[in-house]
């Protein structure tokens, strides 16, 4: 549905996006994961038609998206990273202003405002001044403002910045609901790998303006040379089995633990048997699945939040 082909965008001497290509399917919850300054917001600005690319094209159902493509831009709704709201007027007044930008019929707009506020759990506060809202409520209102005109694609640029965990969950629930029930394609940028893993069917990892990997979570994790990790507390017993553990994968020594990145063909039961034979209790062993954070570290040598 959305095709991003060889997009390059420069700001003076800085290349924000460098030959980026992606394809996003209709109804998909697509994640764009990368650290701050990776180029996520620039890509969102290009998708929304706010900016034009220096090179390459972005199409939505074969129609090119640009600053001049008014019709196509109506199909998109952007929830910017900053709280793009007028804080001194009510939630309802804000939505009337932003809805009117799409030249919506007055009655349809009114109905849309009520429905979306209700879905977002803000209906009771619609007459309240926005600056009296909590951070989480403002974030939800920011999303509602992007959805009033019933877009086919919702662009969420880091919608949970500065939000407490409880409000964050409310935002996740809301986004998943509109994605499933209204079949709205969601393109979600974040630098929190937990969010990308939890919400997104497919994820593109972006760093320094380049897409360094993309696919489902499993496809991405398959890019890692190891499938599981074992963390074992340091003591005399564990020291004695290090040589034997080495045949299952690479061992990294930390201050209080050994980390074993399991690689190659072996039976997991062989590992457990080794621990059992050595008298190492299970309370001293921690099995972990690798995360996208580790994939990013593996691909770039840096952590997502560096």
């Amino acid at each position: 549905m959305i095709q991003i082909k060889n997009i390059t965008k420069r700001y003076k001497n800085i290349t924000a996006l460098d030959d980026v290509s992606l394809e996003i399917k209709s109804g998909e919850f697509f994640g764009l994961l990368g650290p701050n300054g990776a180029g996520k917001s620039t890509l969102m600005s290009l998708l929304s038609g706010y900016l034009d690319a220096d090179e390459g094209t972005i199409t939505f159902k074969d129609s090119i998206i640009s600053r001049d493509s008014m019709k196509v831009r109506k199909k998109f709704g952007l929830a910017p990273q900053s709280l793009a709201l007028y804080e001194d007027i009510s939630a309802e007044a804000n939505l009337k202003i932003f809805g009117s930008m799409y030249l919506m019929n007055k009655d349809i707009l009114k109905a849309a405002i009520e429905e979306k506020l209700y879905t977002a759990g803000l209906f009771e506060r619609k007459k309240d001044i926005v600056k009296t809202f909590s951070g989480g409520m403002k974030r939800r209102l920011n999303l509602v403002a992007a959805l009033l005109h019933s877009p086919k694609v919702l662009l969420c640029d880091e919608p949970t910045v500065g939000v407490d965990p409880q409000s964050r969950n409310a935002i996740f629930d809301y986004l998943q609901k509109i994605n499933k029930e209204e079949n709205i394609t969601v393109i979600y940028t974040t630098h929190y790998m937990e969010e990308a893993e939890r919400l997104c069917k497919r994820i593109a990892i972006i760093d320094m303006g380049k897409i360094i990997a993309q696919g489902t979570k499993d496809e991405l994790l398959n890019l890692l040379p190891y499938k599981e990790e074992i963390f074992i507390g340091k003591n005399e017993k564990t020291k004695s089995v290090l040589d034997s553990l080495g045949k299952f994968g690479e061992i990294i020594e930390h201050a209080e633990q050994y980390e074993v990145k399991l690689q190659g063909d072996f039976k997991l039961s062989d590992v457990f048997k080794l621990f059992e034979d050595s008298g190492i209790g299970y309370n001293n062993i921690d099995f972990r699945k690798p995360t996208l954070e580790e994939l990013f570290l593996n691909l770039t040598g840096r952590r997502l939040r560096d």
Binding site: S45, S48, G49, Y50, R67, M70, K71, R73, K74, F76, G77, L78, P80, Q81, S82, L83, A84, L85, Y86, F98, M101, Y102, L103, A145, A146, H149, L155
Partner: protein
Amino acid sequence: MKTILQLFKKDYTLFFKDKVAMGLTFIVPIVLIYIFGKVFGSVGGGDEHLQLGFINKSSAPVAKKLERVLDTTKTFALVKNYKDETGNIVLYDTNMIKTHIKSGKFSSALIIPEDAYTDTSKSLKLIFFYDPKNQFETQLIDGMLQQTIMQQFPELFQQSMTRQAETDLGKEKGGMFNSEIARTVNKFYKIDTSVLLNKNLNSQSDTAMSTGGNNMFKNIVNIEKQQLVGKDIANPMATRSVGGWAMMFLLFTITGSATSLLDEKKSGVMIRILSAPVTSTHILWSKYLFNMSLGIIQLFVMFLFGYLIFNIDIFSNLFNLVLIILAASTACTAFGMLLASLVNTPRQANGWGTFLILMMSAVGGAWFPVSLMPASIQFFSKLTIVYWSVEGFLAVLWRGAGFMDIWQYLAVLFGISIVINLFSIYKFKRGNVF
């Protein structure tokens, strides 16, 4: 104490990193003080000349002398002729000088009539036409004129007293009285009064003797004053000043509103709006129309308030007042948009806006008549929106000017608006607001 010092140091570090704050703290006040000093410092005492229309119809030597004195004084620049429609230089007659005062070409004129001083005159007769659209200016010219005459004509006083004594006591007794007075003055003050007593007033002496006193002056120099404009104005003071103050506040309002573009950019609202089917052209047009309509409403409200509270007559020349309001609002809006296109942050906009508005108000005549400012400042006055708007409002409210008299103000204001708008659009297209 150490903590306080650290916090103190922190504030200075932040202050010196903020170029705008530094500019507002030091450079802006220095520039404003310099400009205000230039504007106000030379009033009545500088090297600049006050324009004074002048006709001398008298052949009396005293009239010739008065003309020569006024010609050479630094205080006045006598305007004795004008260019007619064919471009010829023509000497003023009374009717034409009145017409030019009424049209605002200059605010006052001195006429020395044919019978200004005859052999039987006890006082010098002069006619003073004036338009008190700038009351301060008229009062200043009047005062300076009296001072100049009295400083240059002490013998007028002496001669007037001599003639008065001869009229009241008869020629013989009057002569004796004058001689006795002269002898007494000579005895006690060692002044040779015979020189003055025997001097013919029409001789061309340059004797200087300073004297004063308004009543005394009136008996020696009889100035017939004729107010040519604004006699029927119910509240002259308010009518004169309303335009200037209205313009200053209009500029503040519109600048604040125009620079809201920067607030919208900063808050992210601009991205949201531009991600809708909205272009930067839509935004600029809407902002321009909003500011212009806001300006028109604000000016109307201010003039209506003036009408209700100060009895300023806004309805007898309403059509032309509306035209000036429209032109002034258009120009102020253009200024606000220009500012928004040139600065990067709301803070910069506030700083520059305050500086430029205060400067334009001072130089443009919102607070003080431009005609009393130095010529160098008057040149800059004419480059400001405030000047053309204030002059337009004065023309409409004070002189009751018709369209043919105000078209040049309208043309200049709309012209300024077009030029500024074209430049602003150029800057917006290349700037970072959108």
